[in-house]
């Protein structure tokens, strides 16, 4: 089964190179694309490790949504005021890399000298096939022992959306952008009112009902509907 190892090594090599590219690229958009490449390779590795459902979730949630959001924010922030990569203090750079290498050596030693403790569980290749496939097996395990964590995660996600809404709100001190004026008043011949103010009682002959519950008033001659109802009784009083 050397092919499997070969493919695994290839995928992990590309993932590591892309991850390295991500932290060394000058333009953050290029590093975001490098991260996309890494995530896709990681998803491929999940498929190899018998975790197909997780691979799909990784692509849909991580690459398809979270990274796209990061790209959104990256692009909305104006490019020219992004800080220079090498502007940071060199000491911090060297210290970072040094710490990385030291940690790598430690973990490498730990990996090589590990002793296997637990014995293999039931969910090998036949176990999954017997349960009907990856989704069915994960479904069984997930909903048999982990119902409480699912509710907790759902709650966390709800909190996150509310938090994001709160953060996204424009702050008050900015002058509000001009919004549209309230909907039209009715014509001169009718009392002014909001959008749904009822039309004064027009003779049925005049009102022609149109689609979209809107009516047209049909004026037969020039001086119909030209005086404001309220005003002409005042004129009468004034004239008497």
């Amino acid at each position: 089964m050397a092919a499997e190892v070969l493919v695994f090594n290839l995928l992990s090599a590309v993932a590591i190179v892309a991850a390295a590219a991500m932290i060394t690229m000058r333009n953050p958009i290029h590093s975001a694309i490098a991260l996309v490449v890494t995530f896709v390779n990681v998803a491929a590795i999940f498929v190899m490790l018998r975790a197909e459902f997780l691979a799909a979730v990784q692509i849909i949630v991580y690459t398809g949504a979270v990274l796209v959001l990061i790209l959104f924010v990256l692009m909305l922030v104006n490019q020219d005021d992004l800080p220079e990569f090498h502007g940071a203090k060199p000491l911090q750079q060297v210290f970072g890399f040094g710490l990385g290498i030291v940690l790598l050596i430690e973990i490498g030693a730990a990996i090589l000298t590990r002793t296997v403790v637990a014995e293999p569980g039931p969910w090998d290749e036949q176990g999954i096939a017997q349960a009907g496939g990856h989704i069915q097996s994960i479904g069984q395990v997930l909903y048999s022992g982990y119902v409480l964590p699912i509710q907790a995660t759902a709650f966390v996600l709800l909190l996150a959306t509310i938090g994001a809404l709160f953060l996204g709100r424009p702050d008050e001190d900015e002058e509000p952008t001009p919004t549209r004026r309230p909907v039209a008043t009715i014509s001169l011949a009718h009392t002014r009112g909001a959008d749904d103010a009822p039309l004064p009682q027009l003779q049925a002959a005049n009102v022609k009902h149109e689609a979209g519950d809107r009516d047209l008033i049909m004026a037969r001659d020039a001086d119909e509907f030209t005086s404001i109802p309220g005003e002409d009784d005042e004129q009468k009083e004034r004239s008497e």
Binding site: V36, E52, A56, I59, V68, M75, Q136
Partner: protein, 340 residues
């Protein structure tokens, strides 16, 4: 390389070429149908009934001058159309075109791959398609196409969530995500008293079907949701700076994803290759053609949404509906299994 792997490779090549051919003639089909709906004739100069029109378009686009803006980020400018063009047909790998036929002795099953997470694979490829739009908008270096690209990406993302959720109703009933399994489940006949109904999911999941259709139209930036097309006039859609064959990548990627979403809808809701007389890939073709006709019909008649209405529709109307649908299907399923 065992025989099974080899045969699925060959079938994959066949499917890809058929798809590319279909995609070319989809443009012709659309122009002819739209013309008929608009009281005009449509392309009839090239070839007998204008049949060579797609080839003519292809040559025109290939020979057109291909301009790359000076400040554009060259590498990403070239990558973006490729990304959306390549990712579109890849989603067709999971669609079953039939059970299996034997060719020269050994069995060839008529689907490229039957993976257990087929529908999720389809959604994953769909969600990767967004990168073509975003990077295309970013790389063309003008602020307006960037904002246009971001807006259409936001539209695709929100409708993708609705698309995914609308499928959950079907998965609850079918119990499996693999399309081959779903098609086989839909082939039994449901006899409600006298009438013999095919057990298609459109009958048991009408609301999910309608929401899926709306989200599918929005996902491929078509018809009433074709904001990028309107954007090109106003804010400069993400593919304004593209010309020549690079633009044709974006343009054709839209058609391929339209065909594939129609095939997918036919498989999930209308029972794929299952038909009253003899099951076969022609039934799938007919059903997909119905969906494609619906796409074109929408495009000629219905006016375009405004951006805020479009997003409002997704989050305020479709999302609650889809969640209610999942709730109902869940309860019915439990009631059906007697667990309630």
């Amino acid at each position: 390389m065992d025989a099974n792997l080899l045969s699925s490779y060959i079938f994959a090549v066949v499917v890809l070429n058929v798809l590319l051919g279909l995609m070319a003639y989809m443009t012709y089909f659309e122009r002819k149908v739209m013309a008929a709906m608009q009281d005009r004739v449509g392309p009839n100069r090239t070839g007998p009934v204008g049949l060579l029109q797609p080839i003519a378009d292809g040559i025109k686009l290939l020979t057109k001058e291909d301009i790359i803006p000076k400040h554009a980020d060259r590498r990403i400018f070239l990558l973006a159309p490729l990304l959306s063009f390549v990712l579109a047909p890849v989603a067709a790998a999971v669609i079953p075109f039939g059970d299996s036929i034997n060719v020269f002795g050994h069995e060839v099953n008529l689907y490229v791959a039957d993976i257990n997470v087929a529908a999720l694979y389809f959604l994953a490829i769909g969600s990767m398609g967004v990168y073509g739009i975003i990077l295309g908008g970013y790389a063309s270096a003008n602020r307006y196409s960037l904002l246009g690209g971001l807006r259409s990406a936001a539209q695709v993302i929100s409708y993708e969530i609705i698309l995914g959720l609308s499928l959950i109703g079907v998965f609850i009933l079918s119990g499996s995500l693999s399309l081959v399994e779903i098609v086989s489940q839909q082939s039994e006949t449901l006899n409600l008293g006298p009438l013999q109904l095919p057990n298609w999911f459109i009958l048991s999941q009408p609301l999910a079907f309608v929401i899926f259709l709306i989200a599918a139209v929005a996902e491929t930036n078509r018809a009433p949701f074709d904001l990028p097309e309107a954007e090109t006039e106003l804010i400069g859609g993400f593919h304004t700076e593209y010309s020549g064959f690079r633009f044709s990548f974006f343009f054709l990627a839209e058609y391929i994803s339209m065909i594939i979403i129609s095939l997918f809808a036919a498989t999930i809701f209308l029972g794929g290759t299952d038909g009253p007389i003899r099951d076969g890939v022609w039934w799938l073709a007919i059903k997909a053609a119905i969906f494609l006709f619906f796409y074109i019909w929408l495009r000629t008649t219905v006016p375009r949404f405004r951006y805020d209405q479009l997003m409002g529709l997704a989050w305020k109307v479709l999302l609650p509906l889809v969640l209610i649908n999942i709730l109902l299907t869940g309860f019915i399923r439990l009631w059906g299994l007697g667990m309630l």
